[in-house]
Point group: C3
Chain length 380, copies 3
């Protein structure tokens, strides 16, 4: 007879309007309890999501201005097949050398020494260049995959009986006399210092990833033991990115060092610290895996220009900086509060709909809900 008297807060707007709260006599207490719990769940979830997770009370800024300086340390040695040793220091293996956010650590080279401009037979690997007589070669023509411009002669290719079209090119060609050098032996012990300074212009907040200069001298980064040390060994980076070092050193590849700043400026600035993560960025498991490019070193050889063409395989490091900052602000707080309340209303309606549709004892519930309707309809 005496049920649980609860006031329906079905639509939050009502509370704000100071209108008559509907009073519902629910004979079955369980129904009322379930209803209350469901609503509470929705309210708590929204409040928690919008204000705790999404920090709805904060003004936000993403995409900070960022400056990255990198510095690699370490020396390696390569042994050419003929036994000559070459020492590779930073000026040799870091390309480009400027210490920016994208740079390559060379792990292997294929050098073609002392090329000069002249004529020589096209490489046999260029299928279109194979010829029988000079009629197969057109003067002045160029194959996109070839190495030079045809002279119109058909000449014997080196090492074999095949003939190819003669070309104007940097001779000898790369395929013929290439020398491979690998410096992967010492690369894992190389260290990379990454200095990163960010600035959020909206909040006028700047921060660097180096907090204590003295601690910098002998540290290496470790996610647990020294998470604020921005010196990374190549070994660590490659392992964290889940890569087999030998393979990437041979074929080359790109590793992203992602620096993520997630700053809550309502706390002390020292709490705003970057998170580092590492991920392979180039394609994997297919033919075109790897990273390589060619460049040349130029010499003056008896008054003529000569060059050493170097095909470089290396580990390219892309330092990618992400960031967002939030700080309390009245306006987003009110706007989010309003949006959250409206959202809760939509959620509550859903709640009601379930009760009205699926519950057994919904007769009494819905009757009360529409009490006013009946009273007003006759007035029309």
């Amino acid at each position: 007879m005496t049920g649980c008297r609860i006031r329906s807060l079905t639509w939050f707007g009502q509370l704000w309007e100071y209108e008559t709260p509907k009073v519902i006599v629910v004979k079955n207490c369980h129904l009322g309890t379930i209803y209350r719990l469901l609503q509470l769940l929705i309210i708590v979830y929204f409040a928690w999501y919008v204000f705790v997770i999404q920090k709805g009370y904060q003004a936000r800024e993403t995409g900070p201005e960022s400056a990255v300086i990198t510095k690699v340390k370490g020396v390696s040695m390569s042994k050419a097949p003929r036994g000559t040793k070459k020492i590779w220091d930073v000026a040799e293996y870091v390309k480009p050398p400027e210490g920016g956010s994208i740079f390559t650590i060379i792990t292997r080279t294929e050098s073609t020494k002392l090329q000069t401009l002249g004529t020589c037979p096209e490489s046999k690997s260029v299928i279109d260049a194979l010829c029988v007589s000079s009629e197969d070669c057109k003067h002045g023509e160029m194959h996109v995959l070839g190495h030079g411009v045809q002279t119109g002669h058909c000449v014997s290719a080196s090492h074999g009986s095949l003939k190819t079209c003669e070309i104007h090119a940097w001779c000898p060609l790369e395929d013929e006399t290439v020398t491979s050098e690998s410096l992967h032996e010492f690369v894992p012990s190389f260290t990379i210092l990454i200095k990163n300074n960010i600035h959020f212009p909206q909040f006028g907040f700047s921060k660097s990833n180096i907090e204590d200069d003295n601690a910098l001298k002998n540290c290496t980064y470790h996610p647990i033991r020294s998470p604020s040390c921005p010196i990374f060994t190549m070994d660590f980076i490659v392992k964290e990115a889940g890569i087999n070092f030998t393979k990437i050193a041979y074929k080359g590849g790109i590793i992203g060092v992602i620096i993520n700043w997630n700053c809550n400026l309502d706390l002390h600035p020292s709490k705003c610290r970057p998170q580092y993560s590492f991920r392979r960025l180039d394609l994997q498991n297919n033919i075109s895996t790897g990273y390589n490019y060619r460049f040349a070193k130029y010499y003056n050889k008896n008054g003529r220009e000569a060059r050493t063409l170097i095909k470089v395989y290396g580990i390219r490091i892309d330092v990618i900086v992400h960031g967002q900052a939030g700080k309390f602000s009245l306006i987003p707080t009110i706007i989010n509060l309003a949006t959250a309340l409206t959202s809760i209303g939509v959620g509550s309606v859903f709640c009601d709909w379930i009760l009205l549709t699926f519950m057994n004892k919904n007769h009494m519930y819905s009757m009360r809900k529409y009490d006013q309707v009946k009273k007003k309809l006759p007035a029309l």
Copy 2:
């Protein structure tokens, strides 16, 4: 007497509140129909815009992490005025050579060969450097647009009777002995392979613009015939950007290759494909059009440092990656639903306002609307 009985949904909130829906007897059926249609239009438009166009039911992420590798193929030949031919391969004409997202394909050079440090007369084009006697030249002074630091002497400029101040500089000066070489002949047939790998950290979704390695070998990009082939000919890029090739090859310029990823992650990942577009990025139709820069190659000439100064005109390619991904998420769905409903309410009010203001038969309509007002006012 028997009009069209329609329930007013003027304010959606009302429905959610399960309050008495106002019942309006509209004698003129047309009015009611127009009213309904107007509301329907607003509701449909909003629902369509917010949920279909804006995909309001999805959590969104923009600005993916992106790695770009580029590789140019092709060989060209230039003829210097003296008849010497020079072969330009990738190592020669791609600067910087690292295969990053911004690189230049050289189309023309102006070389000043074998400069050494010494003294020579300033160029006549530097107006401030013209002199009559040594009194016009100040030792140690430098003109911003000049080529060196003045020695304090006034000497005869080459080729003519004019005198200019002598300067410490890299001599001979660029203006005097420049050799122009153009390699534009074969540039249109060059191909650029663009590998692009993106990653949306929030969704943990990675994708590459290369889907099938085997298809890569002999394809070139065409928007209809092979839209997934990431190999572009220079000819195609220049034409798509709406540029006259001869002009850009002579003066240089910057072309943006814009890769746009617009991924709906509710669909199969294979549906997420990049769109390519091409646009000229440097200034057009004015004096400062074009793109050029100077660099030097160094030689050791009899123990002294010598250099070849090269002014390079080229087509700079900027690969710009844009992207956004969306995936269904409950929270934005509810929040957008609530916002949309509120917006629809505002729209409906606008609807009502039109009806109440401009319609002929609005007497009955507004009377019913304010029915309750009259009944309650006396209660005060």
Copy 3:
């Protein structure tokens, strides 16, 4: 007796619903006035913030596509300790030379000339390399901070009685024979031309920071006198960034030139002009301040490769482009209007709460508010 009759607009929603506005007889006129003023304040503030400051009636786009071309002009001279003068022109001191958005102007170099691959004693500064006998040196070992790979011999270091491990390296080492050259004298008068072209794809709007080519020839940027001239002197940039030029020229550093486009596309395009600002981006006030890197120039010395190792200190300029554009659009106008109205409602409730809680004369006020409650409750 006759108070101020004012209609309560407590919840804006009510007005939209055309329901009975509550009529409150406030005996004390001051209370009503305060209440009205408070509400007006909230409404005005929100309307002003959302629609004037935040431009809630506009569709917005951030992160425009941007292309930057830079061009440095000027010549400087350095004096090596031995008295030899070196002229530095653009091809010498701008690295990389391509004229991109990040480049370094060299201000000081430390050169180690004519290094060749060979063996020499390790530097004394590498503490681990100090030795007494050859037993202290392990063949094939490498120190991360060392200059080469150990041969296993312990030899006398140059200049002193100390012994260090012999190493395979580029000899002589950097520490021994370095030549310092400083070109800071003329650097402040260098000029940097920054061409920046942006494009907002959503609005199809492009703009350049160069409006009038003719004005470009003889201008230098000044925030008041010539704010549209994109030619900056180094002196100006360094001063605006609040830096002591002598210090940054000696140790190196990074300066950000921030170009901010804030375009209201509802106005004439000529109103959309970039703002320039300047800020030091590298770390300050600590040991690791500064910016330097090493690169090498290669020579062919009697058939063997020789190099000049150059440690470069310089001012790195990072041109950072920010931008946002807004244009009127119906949808965000309606959505923001709805959100603003909801927010105003929340604000008004706060208003009511203050009145109901803290005001002396709130008896009458709250009685009226809950008038309907009493009348409806008995009906249950």
